[in-house]
Every structure is written in structure tokens, then in C-alpha cells.
Amino acid sequence: MINFILKRVLISLLVVFLVSLFVFSIMHVLPGDPVRLAMGFEATEEDVQRVREELNLTKPLVDQYFLWIGGLFRGNFGNSIVFHRTVADLLSERLPRTINLGVPAMVLAVIVGVGFGIISALKRGKWMDQLITLISTLGAGTPQFWLGIVCIYTFAIGLKVLPMQGYTAPQTDFPLFLQKAVMPIFCMAVVMFASLARQTRSSMLEVINQDYIRTARAYGISEFSLIFRHALKNALIPVITIIGMQARVVIGGSLLVEQVFNVAGIGTMLTSAISNRDYFVVQSCVLIISLFTVAANLVVDILYGVIDPHIRESRN
């Protein structure tokens, strides 16, 4: 068991290391000088050079890499070249906005997606199943930015029931937060909902056709407890993997949804940071996102290993 966990942790660390190498080298291979871009062409060469030195950009690349990684361990994510602030400072300002939209979207998607997936499997082939399958197929194929624009056109411009764009913190004005957040949350949830509903449906179908369910039914166990106490537990294992991977869907989706709804969160920050070559913002954010995803997968993996010895064996 200890061996198994140790191995998974080491592999995860290796994956995060590869990501850090990738994002660091890509950002530094790019042509163009972000400091010059940020300071404008009226700045003197001395000033630009001074800022470059302050940011350690004049050191050899290998040194820069280790300075960056070393900083991360001390909680120093580096400085934004464009915003003249530390990345940690920017994150503490913007992350709550992305989380306040992303987490409700995820919760909504999990509840509706898993619920619809179960209904779909139990009503296999009936109109209810077909309707849910159609909705999730459409949901998976709808571009989030377009869905956002259609929502804005319908509810803000047409029906005038919701504000068009923007973001208000829930602690400042909760009703206003809800009004502004409902469309972005919906747009983010739709994509996650689609994959969750599909996965739940197919793994539920697989489970309810198995012998032990038939045996349980033969013993006269009520249909309700059959589904919710016996089948669901096993059917949800692959679904949990998918939920574990939703962190990257939330962040990926936030890029588009925040742009459409004009929310100054992580998504809009990353988009502008990548175009402006704001090295530390991109490097640190991408690494944090990947760390988050890898950690979620690791936890799911270890939990599996604890629950199910088969998996522990096969992955060892």
C-alpha cells in the first residue's frame, strides 16, 4: 500500500516537473521582449535594462528556471511585468472571482449531470433517455463563448431580466452577484454537464446489467435501495474520475466565459498575459493549474487503490 502511494506521488511530481519545463522553455523561446512591450517605446534603454535586471531576465536561462522554482517553494510566484505587481497579489485578487463562478458551476453540473445520467440509464430507450442524450450531445458541441452571447442576447437585451456583463463580489451585494453570475455559471456548467451525464449513463447501464444486481432484485430488495444503495456506488467510480478532471475544464472554460461576460478573473488575466508574454504570470498560473489537476487525479487514484485492491494491483 505504502509502495503504491509512494509510486503515484513520484509519478505526479514528475508530471508537474515536465509541465514546469514545458511552460518555462516555451515562454522564454518566444521572440520579442516583454519588458520593452510593457514599458513602451518611449522608455530609455537604461530603464528597460534596469527592469530586466530586477526581474532576473538577464541571467542565464538555467539560473532563471531555478530562481523561479526556488521562489515558488517560498511562496514567491514572481512579478507581473505588465501589471507591476506580484503574481501572488494578482492571484489573490482574481482567483476568488473565478472560483465564485467555477465552483457553483461545477456543483450544478455534477448534480444535474449525474442525476440526468441516472434517469437516462433507468429509462433506457424511452423518450426521457433520448431527450437527455440529445441535450448532452448539444451541450458538448456548443461553443461556450457563443452560448454566452446567445444568453446575453436573450436575457439581457431581449427580455431585459438580467444585467449584460460584469461581476460583483457576493459579499458586497449578494442579489446583484446572483443576477450577474447566473449566465456565466450556466455557460460553464453546460459543458461539464454533458460529459458527466454521458459517463454516468454508460457506467450505470454497465452496472445494472450485472449478476449481483439481478440477484439482489431476485431477493426482493426494493428498486429504490437497489439503485441507490447497490448500483450507484459502483457506477460512480468512473464518474468520480471525470469529476476529478473538471478542474481543468473550469479553468479552460473560464478563459472564454470571462471574456464574454467581462469578468476580471484568472481566465482574462491568462489570455492577456499570454499575448503580452508576461512570463511569470503565465508560468506560475499554468503550473498552479496543472498542480491542481495532478493533485486531484492523485487523490482519486489513491482512493481507488484504497477501495479496490484490483486497481492497486494493476497499477503497481
Binding site: 514528475l14 516555451i26 450531445t137 463563448f145 479553468i251 472564454l256 471574456q259 464574454v260 493549474i289
Partner: protein
């Protein structure tokens, strides 16, 4: 396999594929319409996608311009049709190139155990831990925002899907007797991989390929919408949505129609992919 078996298989395949109902047929129809629109755009349209008619800004009369004109007087339908060209081209090129690389990596990783195998698979894990859109954005900065550059970038994002699938298949197949037999009679390992293992992956590969066509169009549109993919004035659908968004209140069609095109094509590819999966190999249902 005799030729009669083959036609029997084909008939069985077509029966299941089209037997899935009106949706599959409708989706094939949608794909056909967009392919024709893309191919025929230069032939049937009297305008180019860049030509401006400054007396006809936001024109809405269908007499001269069937779907009207945009904010600088370009024919909207023409631009939509050229948009189809761009989307289909990038998705096809990216999916093919991702397929070739992904399959090769999957075969190698699955067949050779040890260092190579884990190196390849950990690289795939690393890539999958970054959201696809962010990964492509970063890579697009290096490879440039040309059409071919975008196709390559989007393709890189699709490689892990192929690699993981082929890897899994090879792992489960390589201990079969026929593989051992082929090796015993002295066939080279590379031949065994290509002639005996790869054909078994054919069915799921077709499905992944179809799905990745849709996914590529989605990523391309998203990048273009954010302004980090194909850039204006190229008539990519994502670019058109982003430009049209400014005029949403008065001229909603400018933002809504190009996005609708993205949705129609992506959903059509997904439905065809689902249909192919069930028709080619029912055991894959729910696994891809």
C-alpha cells in the same frame, strides 16, 4: 475473410449506422452542406470575403447580399462559407497529423515496456494536466497564427487521445497467441506492430478521428474568438463572433450565425462519431 463476408459486414455496418435514426442522417447532411459550402465558396459567390462595399454597411436586404453585410460592408454569407473552409481545413489537417503522431507514440509505448513507455505516457499526462485551450494558446505563440500553424498547434493538443487509446489496445493485445506466433516465425517487430496490432485498433481510431474533427473546430473557434488564434481579417468563425459581438444589440446575426455554424458542425461530427462507434464495435459503447 471471403468477399461475401466483407459485403455482409459492410451491410451490417450500414444498417446499424443508419438505423440509429434521423439524427445520424441529419448530421451527415449538415457535414455535407458545410463541405460543399467550403469547396464551392470561390465558385458560386460573386464576392470575396475581404471585399468591402462601403455604401452597404450592415445591409439587411437579401437582394444583393443574401445574409446581408457586416460592419464594413463585406458579404456575410461569403464570409461564413470561407469560414467553413478554414474550420474544415484546420480540423482535417490537425486530426490527421495528431493521428499519425499519436498512433506511432501509442504503438511504441504499448509495445516496448520500460523507460520509453513511461516517458511517453508521462509526457501525455503532463499535457493533459493543462487545459487544452491554455496549452494551445501558449503553443500558438511559438508556431504563429497562420492557418497551418494553428492546425499543428491544435493537433498537438489532440495527440494524447490517440496515444492513450492505442497504448491501451496494444497492452491488451500483445500477449495474444497470434502476436507470439508472428514473432516466432521471424517477422520483424515493426511489422508485427503495423500489420497485426494496428489493424485491431481500427474501429476506435475511426471514432476518435471523427470526434477530434469536432473538437479541433471547437478549439480553433475558441482561440480565434480570444484573438490568439487565427486573426482578423481572415473570416474564421471565431473571429466573426468576436467582431459581431460589438454590434449584438442591433445586428445579432453577425455574432450568432457564425457561432451557430460552429455548433452545427461540431454536434454533427459528434453524432456521426457516436453512430460509427456503435456500428463498428458495439463493445466500445460508453468507453470512448
Amino acid at each position: 475473410m471471403s468477399s461475401r463476408d466483407k459485403t455482409g459486414n459492410l451491410r451490417q455496418f450500414l444498417r446499424v449506422f443508419f438505423g440509429r435514426g434521423i439524427l445520424v442522417q441529419l448530421s451527415l447532411g449538415i457535414i455535407l452542406v458545410f463541405v460543399l459550402a467550403a469547396l464551392l465558396a470561390p465558385v458560386v459567390m460573386p464576392y470575396t470575403p475581404f471585399e468591402q462595399d462601403l455604401t452597404q454597411l450592415f445591409a439587411e436586404s437579401p437582394a444583393k447580399h443574401l445574409l446581408g453585410t457586416d460592419n464594413i460592408g463585406r458579404d456575410f454569407l461569403t464570409r461564413l462559407m470561407y469560414g467553413a473552409q478554414i474550420s474544415l481545413f484546420t480540423s482535417l489537417v490537425s486530426s490527421i497529423w495528431a493521428g499519425v503522431v499519436g498512433i506511432a507514440l501509442g504503438l511504441i509505448a504499448g509495445y516496448f515496456e520500460g523507460f520509453i513507455s513511461s516517458a511517453i505516457m508521462r509526457l501525455m499526462d503532463a499535457q493533459l494536466s493543462i487545459p487544452a485551450l491554455i496549452f494551445s494558446m501558449v503553443l500558438a505563440m511559438v508556431l504563429g497564427q497562420s492557418l497551418l500553424g494553428m492546425a499543428i498547434v491544435i493537433g498537438v493538443g489532440a495527440i494524447p487521445g490517440y496515444t492513450r487509446m492505442v497504448y491501451g489496445m496494444v497492452l491488451s493485445l500483445k500477449n495474444n497467441d497470434y502476436v507470439t506466433a508472428a514473432l516466432l516465425v521471424g517477422q520483424r517487430e515493426s511489422m508485427v506492430l503495423l500489420k497485426h496490432l494496428l489493424p485491431n485498433c481500427f474501429a476506435p481510431l475511426i471514432v476518435i478521428f471523427t470526434m477530434s474533427l469536432g473538437m479541433a473546430i471547437m478549439v480553433e473557434a475558441g482561440l480565434a474568438y480570444l484573438g490568439v488564434g487565427i486573426v482578423a481579417p481572415t473570416p474564421a468563425w471565431g473571429v466573426m463572433v468576436s467582431e459581431g459581438y460589438k454590434y449584438l444589440t442591433l445586428y445579432p446575426r453577425l455574432a450568432i450565425l457564425p457561432g451557430l455554424c460552429v455548433m452545427l458542425v461540431v454536434v454533427a461530427f459528434n453524432i456521426v462519431g457516436d453512430g460509427l462507434r456503435d456500428a463498428l464495435d458495439p463493445r466500445l459503447r460508453g468507453k470512448l
